[in-house]
Amino acid sequence: MSVKKITSLRGTGISIRGNDIDTDRIIPARYLKEITFSKMGEYPFFDERFQEDGTEKDHPFNKKERKDASILVVNDNFGCGSSREHAPQALFRWGIKAVLAESLAEIFAGNCTMIGMAAVTLSPGDIKEIQTAVESDSQVEIKLNLENMTVECGEKSYKAMMPESGRQALIEGTWDSTSLLRSRLDLAKKTASSLPYMNHFES
């Protein structure tokens, strides 16, 4: 499994306003009927970006000047609802490398870390300030530093937060946890043998 340290990310921003944006909105269920993630980058916010006849709606993800954006800035409880990893996969494969949010639904945040995408939270006021900056200037550079947990946007600097374990996993490159957990399989089996239901309550 790949090991990649992610200590800082920089890029231009894209802002999506609104609280409680659920994973059904990030990627509608009909796009979950694919057995690989390879095409997910085509689908983020699909029903908010396209009319039923396929014509484009007015949406930040459709703007030419935002096509290279890699830092998504969102509000409260982003990614709530379904546990579908397809949601962060869709954003990641579209080009998003980091999500800055007022708050994040927990499964969504965990899924982001598992694929090496930084998902951090900032205060509501700071997020709204960054959103305003991003919306008024598509070229303003945002820099997320995971070592000292700061976000720089233009001239200003903000404090970012994320669970320490997720931060460690990203900066030490251990976010892809399978190989780590696998190296401890013997310990897992030992724990399993101590649980009465694992041997059907027969010993």
Binding site: I35, T36, E85, N111, L180
Partner: protein
């Protein structure tokens, strides 16, 4: 931090150790797999030449994509067929039990686990589906996970996780007539909000949960995730044990006695400490109906929809967005909302007690001519039992379609979808925009008996009025 709760006891007994990242390595005792979130995980194992660590603790079924009119193969939808073939191959290659339709046990993964007795107190359970919280009704810690975590559990039987806080939610007193477990959880989510549970496991306790059936507890725990909690549970008790007794995977003979005594030891201690405590009165809860685009946007059925005055700008924007999508008006009476589709089913309300209760409401009556009604049992065993009791006939005589088992119109990854901006009374768990298959579709969440009442009248209706 919480101490001596069921959460702490199960967490501690399954905690393999602390990882270098500071996260804990948590052993997962039961892994439930379905067709949608697993193919990429199995492919990753195949690429690395890894086998499934605990194949005997891993069970698969198919539910999301399965058509509910006919399960004849190949499915009409070639993508659905491909997903099904992938799960067939993966379960065969990796030596995992697969409850497909011919097995007679297929159904929604969160219904199959409990009814086969696979789900038992004291377990950690994971599944690539957020409604895994359902299994907490048995006194388990049950987590919905993403596909990379499905890969972790397949390959290692473990998850890397942070510890949660525990909030005890007590509902004391007696529920008024017409108020069901679905109303209880919609009420809790309305009061605590869709973000209220972030960072928490919810422990449901008090008179109402003590008196509630296992099926009712499953309905409540199922929607914990809609309140932002990572898991929800009820402490195991005699209700739990009598539900489990005699089921296929339940311990038998001496093993049963050992199991019960272990299960009893797991309940939260009388003097357990919690990170938070919230207490509600059962008498304050009425039949509920959602009117908006999150499960928290609900009212009692006899109320008016909320006004946009005297609230914060943030909240005003959220409510305005909801009104715009739902094409409803602030101040409108809930019972004035028309209904064009009635859906009874899903992992929230597709069990026997749900079907029995809804059938009781529509027995000998006809649903409104403008309403398209469908009833979808949660599993093949539920379907067969319902047919044995003649419920299929009652629903069909009333004008409902009686379908085969699956997730159906809850998330519409199958042919069952809303059309255009149809408005649906739904016993499912999510009223998100586009959730029932049409980007413009509108969903009103309510209990199965309220769906039945809405189907009869062609608009949202107070079940208590209908009973008079």
């Amino acid at each position: 931090m919480a101490r001596n709760t069921l959460y702490n006891k199960i967490w501690d007994s399954h905690n393999v150790g602390v990882l270098p990242t500071g996260q804990n390595q948590l052993l997962i005792g039961l892994h439930l797999v379905h067709e949608v979130t697993s193919p990429q995980a199995f492919d990753a194992l195949r690429e690395e030449g890894i086998s499934v660590a605990f194949p005997d603790r891993t069970f698969a079924t198919c539910d999301h994509i399965i058509p509910t009119n006919s399960t004849n193969r190949p499915f009409d939808d070639s993508q659905a067929e491909l997903m099904m073939e992938a799960l067939e191959k993966n379960t065969k290659d990796f030596g995992i039990t697969f409850y497909d339709p011919p097995s007679g046990k297929q159904g929604i993964v969160h219904i199959v686990g409990p009814e086969t007795g696979l789900t038992q107190p004291g377990m950690t359970i994971a599944c690539g589906d957020s409604h895994t919280s359902t299994h907490g009704a048995f006194g388990t810690l049950a987590f919905g996970i993403g596909t990379s975590q499905v890969r972790d559990v397949l390959a290692t039987g473990c998850l890397s996780m942070d510890e949660l806080k525990v909030r005890r939610i007590e509902v004391n007193g007696t529920l008024p007539e017409g108020v069901t477990p679905k109303d209880v959880i919609l009420y809790i989510i309305n009061k605590l909000g869709v973000r209220g549970g972030l960072g928490y496991a919810y422990e449901y306790a008090g008179d109402v949960f003590d008196a509630m059936s296992m099926e009712g507890r499953m309905t409540v725990c199922n929607m914990s995730i809609e309140g932002g909690a990572r898991a929800g549970y009820v402490n195991p008790d005699e209700t739990t044990f009598s539900y489990l007794k005699g089921r296929e995977f339940s311990p038998k003979g001496k093993a049963w006695d050992k199991a019960v005594s272990w299960w009893k030891s797991l309940s939260s201690d009388k003097d357990a400490q919690y990170d938070d405590l919230v207490i509600f009165k059962a008498e304050d809860i009425s039949p509920m109906v959602t009117w908006g685009i999150t499960p928290a946007q609900s009212v009692s059925v006899n109320e008016k929809l909320p006004l946009l005055t005297g609230i914060s700008e943030d909240l005003k924007k959220s409510l305005s967005d909801a009104y715009a999508h739902m094409k409803l008006t602030p101040g409108q009476k809930a019972v004035e909302i028309p209904v064009q589709v009635a859906f009874i089913g899903s992992c929230t309300n597709g069990r026997m007690s749900d079907l029995r209760a809804a059938a009781e409401v529509v027995k000998g009556k006809r649903i409104h001519p403008d309403v398209r009604g469908i009833v979808v049992p949660g599993s093949i065993p539920v379907r067969l039992q319902a047919m044995k009791e003649g419920l299929d006939k009652i629903f069909e005589d009333a004008g409902f379609e009686w379908r085969q088992a699956g997730c159906s119109m809850c998330l519409a990854m199958n042919p069952d979808k809303l059309i255009g901006d149809e408005i649906s009374a739904s016993s499912s768990n999510r009223n998100f925009i586009g959730r029932q298959g049409s980007p413009k579709g509108r969903t009103l969440l309510m209990s199965p008996v309220m769906v039945a009442a809405a189907a009869l009248n062609g608009h949202v209706s107070d079940i208590r009025e209908l009973n008079k």
